[in-house]
């Protein structure tokens, strides 16, 4: 049984991180940090919700042909993925593959903030792109 610890973050695809941060500021959420992730052609801003209670990740594409740019083109701004933190990501991925769950990543890879992540295919999670995250020790 996979041990899921919490909703680590909710990823929101946006056209402009700064404008989106202003909008979310009105909802009571401030930017904690921003990060460029060239490998994924993304600029992200992390907005903590409460204390240690998960975050909103605003994701702005930095190239026109990136995955998030295509998402925006097709569906417009909105929720892109749901990240769940798990205790042991290697074991979680192993268990999911054994259960026949369709994974985008068959092994953990480096994600934002230096954490190890693995994506579950939406076909195996009722249309939801689920990111598994192992928090830094």
């Amino acid at each position: 049984m996979i041990k899921v610890k919490k909703i680590e973050h909710v990823g929101v695809a946006v056209r402009d991180c700064s404008k989106a941060a202003t909008v979310y500021g009105l909802l009571g959420l401030g930017v904690h940090c921003t990060e460029d992730i060239p490998d994924r052609a993304l600029k992200v801003a992390m907005l903590p919700v409460g204390e240690g209670e998960g975050e909103i990740e605003l994701m702005q594409p930095t190239t026109a042909d990136s995955t998030v740019a295509k998402f925006l083109e097709k569906r417009g701004e909105g929720i892109h993925h749901l990240a769940l933190s798990v205790e042991d990501i290697d074991d979680a991925v192993k268990q999911l593959l054994e259960s026949g769950v369709r994974m985008i990543d068959n092994a953990p890879k480096p994600g934002a903030g230096g954490k190890r992540v693995a994506f579950v295919h939406p076909q195996s999670a009722c249309g939801v792109l689920v990111e598994l995250v192992e928090e830094l020790q």
Copy 2:
């Protein structure tokens, strides 16, 4: 400034709550309770994530003309909304209206589990349907 406490839940529109619960069971999430909400033509299943760390709300429409049924028809299964718990929902709604935020509900109304809720229009949250929730005291 609105005080947001945590990601209270993430709502996922599904065609069949029982089948979806089986799928999410593989991801390590079990059903805590189910509830029929005739007012919103919904059957929901709540799946706690960790201990007191938010939930996944699986939402199955019970009529063909409900909002969630239309969502499924248009976009298929997937994330429907993001619920944030706030300390004082009356004050939060008042502040948002004063800031020019477009609300679906200009005053709190009863939601799932007897909690008071109010929805922010996606136009005012980068395409995200945000539900504000005041937890039961």
